[in-house]
């Protein structure tokens, strides 16, 4: 891939981003989060912008209530508010549930932790502590010395062989936003696919991870 193509697709992605509203961006983050096997980066600025807009909508609705605006208009605004609130809640919930699932894995990696918001980091930390305490007092404390670790099966393990990790080589459905060009799916260059704009693909998550992070491809 030559560099001008890179610039081109980055510019296209930026243009697409500028054209969308924050709610649409949140919907995209939500969809990506839903389909991705691992936790993605938390978009703090986006979430706080959406929350500001929610607050604004709520205030507008309160004003409507006082000034006696047509009920139909009120319920349209209400619907819009409800949908945005749902999206936000569902997005945050999705992330918490993913953290719950891979808490031990996330807690021991600086890179993964840095993808979480401050509050999520605290949540992950206390979740991990609680799960470890629970396994410790119910099982591990009753096992013989050498077999009582929560991360290693026994003293002869040379690495953490108990921590659940997401399967990054799982297949995902995805949609390209702009032309990516010839894209290498594996490390050795045997599998190459031509990714054209607005097309659907089923690919291994691991191979397109970078494109998801840079916003060139959306998971669906």
């Amino acid at each position: 891939m030559s560099s001008w193509e890179d610039d081109d697709s980055a510019a296209a992605a930026a243009a697409a981003a500028a054209a969308s509203t924050d709610v649409e961006l949140l919907k995209r983050a939500w969809r990506n989060e839903k389909a991705s096997p691992e936790i993605l980066r938390f978009d703090s600025p986006l979430v706080s912008r959406v929350r500001e807009q929610i607050q604004l909508l709520e205030e507008t609705l309160d004003d409507f209530g006082e000034s006696g605006v047509d009920d139909l208009v009120v319920s349209l605004y209400q619907m819009d508010l409800d949908r945005t609130l749902f999206l936000l809640r569902s997005y945050l919930r999705l992330r918490l549930q993913k953290i719950e699932k891979y808490m031990m894995h996330i807690s021991k990696s600086e890179d993964l932790l840095s993808r979480l918001s401050q509050q999520e980091q605290r949540f992950a930390k206390s979740c991990t502590e609680m799960m470890e305490k629970h396994l410790e007092q119910s099982v591990l404390s009753k096992l013989p010395y050498g077999y009582d670790s929560v991360t290693r099966q026994s003293l002869s393990s040379t690495e953490d062989d108990m921590v659940p990790e997401p399967q990054l080589d799982t297949f995902v459905f995805c949609k390209t936003k702009s032309d990516v060009g010839a894209f290498q799916l594996d490390d050795i260059g045997e599998e190459v696919v031509d990714l054209v704009a607005d097309d659907l693909y089923v690919l291994r998550y691991k191979s397109i991870k970078g494109l998801v992070e840079s916003g060139q491809i959306d998971l669906i």
């Binding site: 099966q153 062989d161 108990m162 921590v163 659940p164 990790e165 399967q167």
Partner: protein
């Protein structure tokens, strides 16, 4: 790689594998029902659960593994004759998963191709049946499926049901299923999942 806590993986590893001991082992007479002392003699042929056979082979080269009957020529011929009719569950509910784990332990690369053939030829049948069968009845071929296949069948059927429901405009709010089950009798007109 399935995780440490994966229940299916753990249960799959309970499948019995016939092995021949290449060494003798003391203090484990329980493994060999024919043992006279509390030990297993070299050359003893015993059935071990997969996890133990695997551990003894890969860490200690203490045993040699016989290919399980579900991957032998006889089963292969049956699958080739009519894949969809073969009862794989009774042979091994974790047929494919076990197959994948057996390949590196026995020198037989053709098992991989065989698994793939079996899966793809049965898959068609599963998919078409799952889309046409109703939620109420269980088609009679389901008991013949391996666990993985049964899951494919269930999820294909569920997604078809969900699609039909969406097209007809289904219910939106749902009670917590864990509560509903217990209280259903108290509420004569209470909603239940269709």
């Amino acid at each position: 790689m399935p995780g440490y806590y994966d229940i299916d993986d753990i249960l799959m590893e309970e499948e019995p594998i016939s092995v021949v001991f290449q060494v003798s082992a003391n203090g484990v007479g329980l493994l060999d029902p024919g043992a006279e002392r509390n030990s297993v003699e070299k050359g003893a042929k015993v059935d071990l659960p997969f996890w133990l056979a695997h551990g003894l082979l890969s860490l200690e080269q203490a045993v040699s593994i016989n290919v399980p009957p579900c991957f032998t020529q006889k089963t292969r011929k049956e699958i080739q004759a009519d894949a969809a009719c073969v009862d794989l569950r009774i042979r091994c509910p974790y047929f494919y998963e076990l197959g994948c784990k057996i390949v590196p332990l026995v020198n037989d690369r053709s098992i991989g191709l065989f698994l793939r053939y079996a899966f793809t030829s049965r898959y068609k049948e599963i998919l078409s049946k799952s889309h046409s069968s109703s939620m109420m009845t269980v088609p009679k071929f389901v008991p013949r499926l391996t666990k993985e296949e049964a899951q494919v069948f269930e999820s294909a059927r569920d997604s078809m049901t969900a699609f039909k429901k969406w097209r007809a405009g289904g219910v939106r709010l749902q009670k917590a299923s864990i509560l509903g089950r217990k209280r259903k009798t108290k509420l004569p007109d209470g909603p239940s999942a269709p």
